[in-house]
Each structure stands twice: as C-alpha cells, then as structure tokens.
C-alpha cells in the first residue's frame, strides 16, 4: 500500500514536471505578450524594450533554462500584469476556489446519491421520472444562464439574496447552487444506472432474506457496490471545479483561480499560467491518488 503510494507519487511528480515543460513551451507558441500588455498605439521600440525587460527576447530554450533555475530556488516568476510573484497570486486565489469546490462537490454528491438511489429503487416511478427530468434540466442549462437569471430573480426580484460578492453565508447560496447543478445531474444518472444493476444482484436477495431494512439494502448494499463509477465521476467533476469555475467566479465576483487562469491565458501572463497550473495540477494529482486509494477501500477485491 505504502509502496504503491510512493510509486504513484513519484510518477505523479514526473508527470507534473512533464506538464510544466509542456505548458512552458506550448504557451510560448500562442503569441507575443508584449502586444497585449502595451497599449495598442505603443511603438515598435517600446515593444522591443518591453520584451527585453522581461527576457522575452531570449531563445525559448534559454528562457526555459532560466525558469528551471528559478524553480530550483522556488521562484516561480513574476506576473507581468500584477507586479507580484506569480505563485503568490495563484496561492491567494486557490483557497477561494477550493472552498467552493469542496462545498459544491460534497453537496452535489450527497444529494445525487440520495436522489439517484431512490430513483433506482423504483425505476419508472413518478419520483424516478421527475428526478431524472429535473436533474437533467439542471445539468444541461448553461451555467451563466442559471447564474444571471438567479440573480435577477432572487437578488433583484425578491431581494432575498445579495447579487454577488463574498462575505456572509448568503453569498454562498447562489454560486453553490449553480456549481451543484451539473455535477448533481450527471451523478444522479450515474448513481441511478449503476444502482439498477447492483439491485439485481443475488446478494441483494440475500440481504432481503436476512431481513435487512430497505434503506440499508439500498444505501448499504446496492449503493456500496456501485460506488466505484460514482466516486470516479465525482472525482472528475471535482477536478473540473478545482480547475476553477470560471463562470461562477466571474459572475459572482468570487476571486478564484479559474478566472485568474483564464485571464492569464488570454493575456499571455506566462508566469501566472505556469503557477496556477502547478497549483491546480498538484491538487488534481493528489485527488486522483486519493481516489485510487478509495477504490481499494471501497472494493476489497481491488489491490494494488
């Protein structure tokens, strides 16, 4: 087990290094930041001066060597735009995203398991149909649509919630709601599907013969046996949330890493792109290791 974790960790570190290398070279194929950073009417000399000042005039391999050298001293570069250390910028934004992601994924997984399991317990019933249609409608609605309409209704219309921003618990409600919809819809379907197969298994009959309560049969026996795909899909959704929920972050003014990363990419603020990817990739690799360990915990037949 521990040797497995060690092996996974070393593979993952290698992969992150590979990822960073890839990002470094590929981002530099996407255009010249000086054109974006300077005003449109800046002169050619001004742009050349800018490139020189920021080392962009060097050959890419040289820049990469410099980058590696700095990395060894835990210097992740300066943000061109923000006049700050790029890693500082990323680390400041990441917790905000993480908070949202954790709440959203926990909530949606818990709710989806509940709803999906109950739907699977009575396939074709009214509850099943309503749950399916409602969750799918939520999952396929554009997130900005839900967010803006939500604000127009709940903040402007009935004035129950603040429009946006951070601060009180009330500020959490709408962002979380928007973030929960898609994971919820997808997970309800996955739970329902895998549960249907699990409920037809002989061990469910055995549990019934033992007189196990129905809720326990559903949630203890059938669900537990169908958790593998559920955990995987939830993990994948968590990953996309960890990568940042751009729409929610920008609409609600949530200072997360998603918007930061998008802005940095659009503005070719390379140091920030690299730092944010390093932060989120680390989180994602750790998450995936945790999920793989969870497999072994959930199903004793799986051994690494």
């Amino acid at each position: 087990m521990f040797s497995y974790i060690g092996r996974r960790a070393s593979h993952s570190i290698l992969s992150v290094i590979g990822l960073l290398t890839l990002v470094f070279f590929l981002t530099r194929l996407t255009g010249d930041p000086s054109a974006l950073y300077l005003p449109l009417d800046a002169t050619v000399e001004a742009r050349a001066a800018f490139a020189k000042l920021n080392g962009l005039d060097q050959p890419v391999f040289w820049q990469f060597a410099e980058y590696l050298k700095d990395l060894l001293q835990l210097d992740f570069g300066q943000s061109l735009r923000q006049n700050r250390s790029a890693m500082e910028v990323a680390l400041q934004a990441f917790p905000e995203t993480l908070k949202l992601a954790i709440v959203a994924i926990t909530l949606s997984t818990a709710l989806a398991i509940l709803v999906g399991a109950l739907a699977a317990a009575r396939p074709g019933s009214l509850f099943d149909r309503i749950a399916s249609v409602a969750s799918l409608a939520g999952a396929s609605a554009p997130d900005f649509w839900v967010a803006i309409v939500g604000i127009l209704v709940f903040a402007v219309g009935v004035e129950l919630l603040p429009t946006s921003g951070t601060g009180s618990w009330a500020h959490w409600i709408m962002p979380i709601f928007v973030l929960t919809l898609r994971p919820f819809g997808l997970l309800v379907q996955v739970v329902r599907g895998t549960m249907l197969s699990a409920l037809a298994s002989p061990y469910i009959k055995a549990a019934r013969a033992k007189g196990v309560r129905r809720t326990k049969i559903i949630f203890g026996h059938a669900l537990r046996n169908s958790l593998l795909p559920v955990v995987t899909v939830a993990g994948d959704l968590a990953t996309s949330l960890v990568n940042g929920a751009v729409v929610v972050e920008s609409i609600f003014g949530w200072p997360g890493i998603g918007k930061l990363m998008i802005d940095a990419i659009i503005q070719r603020d390379f140091a920030v792109v690299q730092s944010t990817i390093l932060v989120t990739a680390t989180a994602i690799f750790i998450l995936n290791i945790a999920i793989d360990l969870l497999y072994a915990f959930l199903d004793p037949r799986i051994r690494y």
């Binding site: 590929l26 999952a139 900005f144 379907q189 197969s197 593998l228 899909v233 690799f285």
Partner: protein, 307 residues
C-alpha cells in the same frame, strides 16, 4: 464427439429491429425522446435547405422581436435575435452544426477515452500507468489553453475544434472505464473466459466493455450539453465555427447580455439543448434496460397465465 444431428427448424426469429421497436413502444417516454431526436436530425438534414435563407436574413429594424407574435412570418414565431433574424429558423439551421460537432466530439472522446480506460484498467503493464498519468495531465491542462495552442499551431477549423473538445472530455471516460474494469476483471466470468483462451482483447471487448458501456453512455448523454455549451466558448477564441455559421451554443451565448431584456434569445436555443440532452438520456436509460437481460422484462409485454 457425438455426431452432429442437424435440425432443420430455424424458427424464424423476428428481426432485431422489430423487437427493438416493440421495446421502444413499451416505454412511452423513450418513444417520445426517439421521435423528438428524429425530428432534430431531420431538421439538421433538411433545415438549411428549407429555411436557410430566412435564418441569415438581417432584420435590423426588428431586433429582439418578442416571441409568439403572429404578425410576422411563421419563422418569427419564437421571436428574433439581436440582428432581427428569426430564432425558429436559426434553431432549425443551427441543428446541423450543433449536433454534428457535439456528436463527433462526444463520440470520439467516449471511444478513445473508453478504449484507453479499458486498457488501463485491465492491463498492469507500464502503459497502463502511462495512460493514467496521461489522463491526469489532460485533466490538469486548462481547456482554454489547449484551445489556444491548437489554434496557434494547427489553425482554426472545425476538426480542430472537435479534437480539442474531445480531448478535454476524454479523461472522464478513461477514468470511469478504468474504475469499472478494476472491479470487473476480478469477476469469475472473466477468469472463465481467460481459461478458455480468450485473448485480452476479446475479454475486454466482449466481456468487460458491455458492462462498462452503459455508464459511459450515461455520461456521454449529459456531456452532449456540456460540449455544445463549451463549443461556443472556444469558437469565441476563433477556433472552429465562425459567423455567419453558428450553433445553438453560439445562439445561447449571443443572448447572454439580454437575459433581463429579451429572454427568448438565449432561452429557445437553451431549451433545444436541454431537450436534446433529456432525450438522449431517456434513450440511453432505455438502451441500458434493453441491454441488461435482468432488466429487459420491463420492456416486454408480459403475458400472464390465465388464473
């Protein structure tokens, strides 16, 4: 062994198509979904030919025309968009690009992701690890950055758009397939197949894949909506579909600024996306039932004995 006694009564089995149709008729919701999707596909095939001109005709003086007015031609029944073009006609014409791109992206990500996931789950060799770390890397790679890179290196085209969309959606199929395989490969019938000499390919494709597929199809049905919506975000960068061509996703994005003043611009294409996703899901649930011998009775006409 014992001599073969050929029997000559191959009871003419009703064609699989007929059986499937009978199953479809038993599930009203699935039937409705199938009809609905057929309509969409028909719209996608014949729409441009029917209302193609109307869909691109400017009407700057009837910008954001409200829906349900009968004063204008029928194509304006659902209102007009920000350039006064009839939304209904645009929905019909946009179906082709939308469904085409989404289907291509979802299908290829499911195929590639699923296949890699099956390999990664079944094999314990080095490439299994390689595939998994590859998935991790793809997951950590921002899709927007990928899109930009593709745009700058390969240039804008619909194929490249599909490639980007497919790559970004792929890890979920890969990881889900792998997770299921991890459990399935420990099952006895896999051992049995192995003991009969089935090659790994056969075991994976014939024995494991059919049990993994339903989950992948469920995910893909919802991914359809995701892909349609994210497609418009990537088109915004200049990758892929460009005006005057458009998709439902682009129509939704177009109405973003008008949610409080002209709700219909984003609403109708959003509804179309939602209905497509819903239909695909209902059909995928139906297919899951058909494919599972233990559930299939739900779609059969159970003839009870007289009592």
């Amino acid at each position: 062994m014992t001599s073969i006694t050929p029997k000559t009564n191959p009871t003419a089995a009703p064609g699989t198509g007929r059986i499937l149709f009978a199953y479809l008729k038993r599930d009203r919701l699935a039937l409705a979904a199938a009809i609905f999707l057929t309509l969409f596909v028909l719209a996608a095939s014949f729409g441009p030919w029917l209302v193609g001109d109307a869909a691109s005709r400017l009407g700057l003086r009837q910008r954001n025309l409200a829906p349900f007015s009968l004063e204008h031609a029928w194509v304006y029944f659902l209102g007009a968009d920000t350039l006064g073009r009839p939304i209904l006609a645009r929905l019909i014409v946009g179906a082709q690009n939308t469904l085409g791109i989404a289907a291509a992206a979802v299908f290829s990500s499911m195929l590639v992701g699923g296949a890699l996931g099956l390999v990664a789950g079944y094999s314990e060799r080095w490439y299994s690890h390689l595939i998994q770390r590859f998935a991790d890397v793809v997951m950590s790679f921002p899709s927007l950055l990928l899109a930009l890179i593709v745009l700058y290196t390969l240039g804008p085209s619909i194929t490249n758009l599909v490639i980007v969309l497919a790559i970004t959606r792929m890890p979920i199929y890969l990881r889900t397939a792998r997770a299921e395989v991890l459990e399935l490969r420990e099952r006895m019938f896999v051992s049995a197949a192995r003991s009969m000499g089935a090659s790994p390919a056969r075991i994976v494709l014939r024995h494991i894949a059919p049990l993994v597929l339903p989950t992948l199809v469920t995910i893909s049905a919802i991914d359809f909506a995701t892909v349609i919506l994210s497609e418009s975000a990537l088109s915004f960068l200049g990758l892929g579909i460009q005006p005057p061509d458009f998709t439902w996703g682009a129509m939704v994005a177009n109405g973003r600024g008008y949610l409080s003043t002209a709700w219909w611009i984003a609403f109708w294409p959003g509804l179309a996306i939602m209905l497509t996703t819903l239909s695909l899901n209902i059909l995928s649930n139906w297919a899951r039932t058909v494919a599972d011998p233990q559930q299939r009775w739900r779609l059969q006409t159970l003839r009870k004995a007289a009592r």
